[in-house]
Subunit: 215 residues, 2 copies
DNA sequence: GCTACAATCCCCGAAAGTGGTGACGGCTGG
DNA sequence: CCAGCCGTCACCACTTTCGGGGATTGTAGC
């Protein structure tokens, strides 16, 4: 049984080149070749490919949106992006959209078959230069998702509970009702929280709590 | 001029194997070979490598911490992680720590020299299987850093400015002073913001603004 | 020229939050 | 057993925010 492959590329010559490349591999079956992505979901549904080659620069809907749409309907489809540029943001966006590999058009001839094989075996082919961009992006966002050791403010469990309600935008009254305590008690907790977080207003508390992931 | 390389690996045999591998390349210079990372910063300072090969499994300080320490002092040093496992989390942690490449020990013989060359040229060598793990991680965190399509609330520039001050915990008075407008004007803007964000209190505004990165 | 809207300003009454101070029971560790 | 902390509640005086109005200027678009 062969590997079913579909191409999306607005350049007819490239589609034909790829087609010829794939023909050299006996177990590769080209099941679709499309010049635009406007009907990409339907195209994929009908051609049922295992692997999709997607040009990142496409007229109409961009290749990245197409990836999103296809991945949403057919999560198991492996998508290999092909592009002439190594644009940082688009590499990143493609990955977030669900692309599994990234190949430069300059290297289609020499690398395409290998790349597809890698996809087949569960890898993510990408050139080291693209990988570098991915890593850079990753490092730049790691500070966002890991907000350098959050200082411990020694909040008691109850205080954390109140804090959680605050960041949900609840008023003292609402919190009192939810926690089955009096309005004044909520105030007491909030006052303690103010002291411990060294702030003086609700907005500061909420901002600090969210930014430092105390919630 | 050659490329200066240092090795950190607790296995003496591996260090020697690598040493021999590197010797086959005339422009590679092994400037350090260390069995532990306890003095890694000092070792790097003294041996001044361009590229560091770091074993991820090390006694005492872990290789990942070592990467962090080295990168902090010498950000320009390229670090290639080597490991026997393709552990998702550690791959991810290494990248966040600042590693630039990832190579499996099984493939040291065939890939090491190529990998170092890639590093030299500004790439990030990694096997497709490792790349896949990186991509997976990336996709899983993308939802955190891009919290489901941020709707556009059509805030005017001025409103965004006020909103920015709010999430900094400033009171209306302080904002008025900072933006050189009257207290009442600040109120007007805030009222508009309330309408547009469909909220009814400052805390909700702050929470929404931060969580949806409107700031 | 008219409309739309951003940006500025104003007032009032009601609601919510802030700061300080004090108090009570319960539980824990020295 | 007593000091210390958590969690609970209360009162007072004060500031700030909220939710309705309404008003003016200027600018951009039809």
């Amino acid at each position: 049984m062969g590997l079913r492959i579909a191409i999306f590329d607005d350049n007819k010559n490239i589609r034909e080149s790829i087609s010829m490349l794939l023909n050299t591999e006996p177990d590769f079956a080209l099941v679709g070749s499309f010049g635009h992505v406007l009907d990409c979901v339907r195209d994929v549904r009908e051609s049922k490919p295992d692997v999709v080659l997607m040009d990142i620069e496409m007229p109409g809907m961009t290749g990245i949106e197409a990836v999103k749409a296809i991945k949403k309907e057919f999560p198991q489809v492996q998508i290999l992006m092909q592009t002439v540029f190594e644009d940082d943001d688009r590499v990143f966006d493609s990955i977030c959209a669900g692309a599994s590999g990234y190949i430069l058009k300059n290297f289609l001839n020499t690398k395409l078959v290998d790349a597809i094989r890698e996809l087949q075996y569960g890898g993510s082919p990408m050139s080291p230069s693209v990988a570098r961009k991915v890593l850079n992006k990753m490092q730049s966002v790691s500070s966002v998702i890991m907000p350098e050791e959050a200082p411990d403010y020694h909040l008691t469990p109850r205080e954390k509970e109140v804090l959680g309600c605050l960041v949900n935008g609840q008023s003292y009254k609402m919190i009192a009702a939810e926690l089955f305590i009096s309005y004044e008690t909520v105030r007491s907790h909030v006052k303690k929280i103010y002291e411990k977080l060294h702030v003086a207003s609700l907005t500061e508390v909420v901002a600090k709590a969210i930014n430092q992931r105390i919630v």
